[in-house]
Symmetry: D2
Subunit: 354 residues, 4 copies
């Protein structure tokens, strides 16, 4: 159920409608748009009596939402969601979802301070605005490297200060979620946890952007329902990420499903990134698929970069070299204007290598 | 890495080998077999120096395990794992994995005391040894019924006392895991959490059997690696459960992949049940697939039964009626001897309905 | 569109309705049932004016068929289709689709007269009523053995005379179709040709039973639409065959989808067999899945048997040994009564080996 | 097996090696490259004695090919295959596989002369070099429009003369293949016939380029093995076409698997086009996926265009409007240089609309 306020509705009128909804035992989600504010109602098992609400002052219309996802739907919010990150000292602000393509780059795992700083310097120089690195690693085998945990979070906090890169890192349970929220700018929820509903709810209670990766066999609707779990708790800053799905095809680690981008954009206002590293699992396919993703019209790229991938503790074969990352940035910069996007000028720092 | 002890090795010799392994910084998992004890070594990133271990007294052989799963493998433990539940007052003991087929039946969700008791009485009379019912429900939508939580656990504890049925119920996060472990006989980990590695590790620290459902797109190896996560923490009582995988086929909710049963049985000693309710999503297909599962050679059936499925708060369309459950029990009782199995005589209680 | 005749309608009335339909430019398919005859109308792009037809004498009702398949649907023919094969000299008749389970056994390819006769003798003794053997082989590689062609057909004709086994063999194009129809009792159309519509139409013009294998990624509806292609040309003797579908799962060559059996039986009157050899690709899984298929309620089994599978020119790893075939027959004979089926007594011949 | 000739080997030496191979009972496939000629050997079940061949004059090396596909492999022919179409009167020549992107556009089915000419005029003006239109339609339902057959071929022959567009149209069996080869410039083999090996062999005997669409569940290896079937008969002009595969995803008709493009290009010299129309099944997704395909590095686009898609007899919902086609051409023209491609200048004809 959705309450559409009149375009000249006052903040007081909006608040009064929210109060009324909450008194009925439901939850109100005011969602300001460019033209007018809409208020999503959740928590209702069945029908809400619309009569009373329609009579409140400032209300233009009460409409039923037929899709199972509401807050993630364009029915509720027509304008694209843009997630804004303020300036960090001398480093300019950044966005995900707007005209600027968001570039999130870094190693699969934080392995050491030296490794992380070396890679961060490369990607910052080449124009990435976000740094990714795993502190808590969900590995298929209990005997594989599980991440450096808190130590990795601290290294990444120092990378933020040093290079002005915002930090994106994964939380794997409610315990790590608290720490990740403390140190990172964006909380990643991995593909294997896309339907870990307990984790989604906890992430929804935080007020930090969440990057939600598509599950290995998730339909579009299930993907948006998982975003809805986060949003239904009041955290509306959800970034979707396509990272390949599981099919019979064996020429790549996963099948990158780029056609979900226009399909998502038709029904949802949430931004969507593409991860061509997990999406293919093969270094040689990362650049072609990164170009393709940008040409499709996605909001940015999440990519694994490693300066010594042959020594990486995880995902070496799909990590690209710094020189390939530079080439990738150059290529997508050329494609961006064709889809009305741009790449903000790379952050330049003075280094011996620079 | 696996240390095979001589058949006449003493408990002291076994302990000495374990101590030696732990001193090397690894973890020792003594696994007693019918003929001899094997000791699994985990925690080693690479190679363990086998020389010293082979010279310890009582050691027959040290062998490398080539599969990524070790403790779940028949290489490490050749005999089938049988999980034993002791007698409950006047109610006899039960097993999962032995000659007796394990029958786990009950509603998708515990909706009320009356509903749960009514169904429990039906399934106990018809010969089920285990009762299933959801207290914490992982639902695709945040707006759907999420389960009664602790109240449901208490209702099921009373069902155990009243009908002698062991309780199988799902934990969805580390918080609910503690409570489920306190009230239930078997902790279920659902398909969507099959690669929630944090939850698997926590379940591995408990000393309660864990029923692990196959993920929607999990390969055989991934399935066993998730079992390995639990076992690597010292909890060796893992029960696998096939519940259908996601494919292009649209005539059923999932595609029940029965051929994984002989495939698992070749490589692993763990018992495997089949859930034809989630496996098909259609009431009319549950009995045919339950018969098929038993004919394939599985260790038991997990099935949703509801006396009023049209009123069920979840999974109504796939829940069978009590009369269908009785027919299912009759049919699988006839198939059981063909695969060298049997159905223990049904628990009979005196009731008006009886 | 379907014309249901009154139960006492005369053959003349049925003929008159058919003539009327044909005059309208459509095609009439009279389908006699136990109670009454129904007449399917095909060839209409859109709506047929039902008014005139309803007024013809003997007509009970004219109903629209909403499913895209008509002749294959239970709407058009409620009773199960039973395909009858008359006695062959001293060898009794056989059926597919009735109470008797149909057992089709033999090698993947006919490699030589000796090989084929040796295997035929084994399977005949163990009770198979049908012999399968490839004369024209659709192989993935152009460099692999492509079958003996006409020579193989002649060998199989001699097997029919000698052992009383009906012959099932595959046609791969319109050319081989003519020859197969001349020599075989059942024309097989393989999974890779399930949507070779030209071949389906040609097979529909013949008056020989057609065994249609499910395509590797065919939905239930596509499967029945391919049967419909054959039936729309007037050949109503179509036998469906589930042989596994392609999924991400890698523990078997294909994923045998047994849940399609009850799903097909709900909507179609056509018989359905199961091929556990292609369905699994692994000898050790053939017996468990054959048992499961019979327990599900299928109409019979198609299985690859070879006395020297290690020397087979194709599909050796999935062919069972004669001794395993005997065991399979014994096991499914025990399961059959539980699903109201039986295995007709094996054909016994006098041989040195017998 | 592959014979690599010295770079200065004479035509006589090459012929002598071929003769020798044929005398051994094998088949020789001379494949001229930029530097040297290689000669593929097929028809050998096992090992060919390489000794004698290596001693023939002009032979540099004899190497074993480990992949199951040989003629389609870069091992046998390192340079990209470029298929050349000579000038048609005043209309310039065209290529598939070279620097120029090949654009194949037209309706799903030829419905009438007027419809076909209207669409041909639009696509010719916008720069397509090839016209696609179905004469023989493989439809899932026997009751759906099956194509105009020979009449459609004649209409397309007139379109070639009038607009200088080369004709690409599908053959569905050996009968239609003869006619298609007579009228068309490129013979299309559809996804559902990708493993119709009889049709592949017949197409291999012709000397006309063949456009081979990927099957709905074909792996990369199976796709190339089907190309190999055609090539093993001596027709080396095979054009691959990705058109989406079947997965669980339901937001598009198929899942367009663009990552197969770099994967194919690594192992095969054959050109590969992309069909975003069948690949998505949704008009709104065609342009995004066409852009993505070009950005990935494919050799061209095959797209359905209709001036009145709402009236189309087949595939209306996925056909784009002429204005969208113009926009698509404009967008991919901008992307082309980034992947070292170009779009040859559109054919301009004088029309009232022009």
């Amino acid at each position: 159920m959705l309450v559409v306020m009149k375009s000249h509705a006052t903040p007081e009128q909006i608040q009064a409608v929210c109060d009324h909804i909450e008194q009925l035992g439901f939850r109100a989600h005011p969602l300001p748009g460019a033209q007018r504010t809409a208020i999503g109602i959740t928590g209702n098992q069945g029908e809400v009596d619309r009569g009373n609400i329609e009579e409140l002052s400032g209300v233009a219309e009460v409409i039923r939402v037929s899709k199972p996802y509401k807050l993630a739907s364009r029915d509720v919010k027509e304008e694209d969601t843009i997630i804004r990150f303020p300036a960090l000292g001398s480093h300019p602000g950044a966005t995900i979802g707007g005209r600027d393509l968001a570039i999130v780059a870094g190693p699969c795992s934080i392995e050491s301070r030296d490794q992380a700083f070396a890679i961060a310097e490369y990607v910052a120089q080449a124009g990435a605005q976000f740094f990714r690195g795993g502190a808590y690693k969900p590995r298929t085998s209990p005997y594989a490297f599980q991440g450096l945990g808190l130590e990795a979070l601290r290294i990444m906090a120092d990378i933020r200060s040093r290079f002005g890169l915002r930090i994106v890192t994964e939380a794997i349970d409610n315990e790590s979620l608290e720490l990740v929220a403390e140190y990172a700018d964006v909380i990643q929820i991995g593909a294997r946890n896309m339907q870990n509903f307990s984790l989604l709810k906890h992430a929804g209670k935080l007020r930090k952007p969440v990057l939600l990766k598509r599950g290995l066999s998730a339909t579009l609707e299930e993907f948006l329902m998982s975003a809805e779990y986060i949003m239904s708790e009041g955290n509306y800053e959800v970034i979707l990420c396509e990272r390949g799905v599981r099919t019979f095809a064996d020429h790549a680690r996963n099948t990158l499903d780029l056609s979900i981008i226009p399909a998502i954009q038709r029904v949802s206002h949430l931004p969507i990134l593409v991860d061509p590293s997990h999406g293919t699992g093969k270094r040689d396919s990362v650049l072609p698929m990164a170009r393709a993703a940008v040409a499709t019209g996605c909001d940015g790229i999440l990519v694994e970069v490693h300066h010594q991938p042959e020594k990486a503790l995880s995902d070496g074969p799909q990590s690209i070299y710094p020189a390939q990352f530079v080439r990738m940035m150059d290529e997508i910069q050329q494609i961006a204007p064709i889809v009305a996007r741009s790449l903000p000028r790379g952050i330049r720092i003075e280094t011996a290598a620079g």
